[in-house]
């Protein structure tokens, strides 16, 4: 289990590969499910040129560790990885990465889906978008649809 905050842009696929290579579980996992959330260059039909992601560092760290522990209690997971960006973000850059490894597929898939929902609803991060008409705090997360 590993979770961390990135101040700079990162390569989510490389992060998964790196994490997997330093894992001792190589031949045991039959399933890897991942989710990557990236910055889009529009929201509510308005162009977004830039974004700042603020967080509550001590609480974020604690929350993500608890979240991984809860997932591991609930599903038969071999490993999990969560990475979340903060700071200045440009369109197409990754914001969040979640990866789950398990022996069989449902644990990895269901845990990955659960983790992103929990994180979206509870992890103390806040987005401020820069649009044509100025800066604006994002009011609330969509329900994913």
């Amino acid at each position: 289990m590993s979770s961390h905050i990135e101040q700079q842009t990162f390569d989510p696929w490389q992060a998964i590969v790196d994490h997997q290579q330093q894992s001792a579980l190589a031949n045991q996992f039959g399933a890897t499910a991942s989710f990557i959330g990236s910055m889009r260059d529009f929201n509510d039909n308005t162009d977004v040129s830039h974004m700042v992601l603020e967080h509550y560092p001590a609480m974020t760290q604690r929350y993500l560790i608890q979240l991984e522990q809860q997932a591991k209690q609930r599903w038969n997971l071999l490993d999990t990885l969560i990475i979340h960006r903060v700071g200045d973000i440009s369109p197409a850059e990754p914001i969040v990465l979640i990866a789950c490894w398990s022996a069989h597929r449902r644990a990895a898939l269901d845990a990955c889906s659960w983790l992103i929902e929990e994180l979206k609803h509870n992890a103390p991060f806040w987005k401020k978008e820069t649009r044509e008409d100025g800066e604006r705090w994002v009011e609330n997360n969509t329900d994913g649809l």
Partner: protein
Amino acid sequence: MSIQVKFFASLRETIGVGDTTINHAGSAGEVWDIATDKADRPINVLVAINLEYAQFTSPVEDGDEVAFFPPVTGG
């Protein structure tokens, strides 16, 4: 008695302060009133005591860190 108080995101901008310290409060709600000089509390404000979500009625103690923030929008 010393309580650390934090405001995040839009709330920090509205209140005009990110971190402050107050001397005494019995509950998280009272922390808000003292730290904001009784500013109106938006209906959707969230509160955490010592890095865990709490209620405005939750008691606070000496040394606690109490944080107020708007609905989260990460991920």
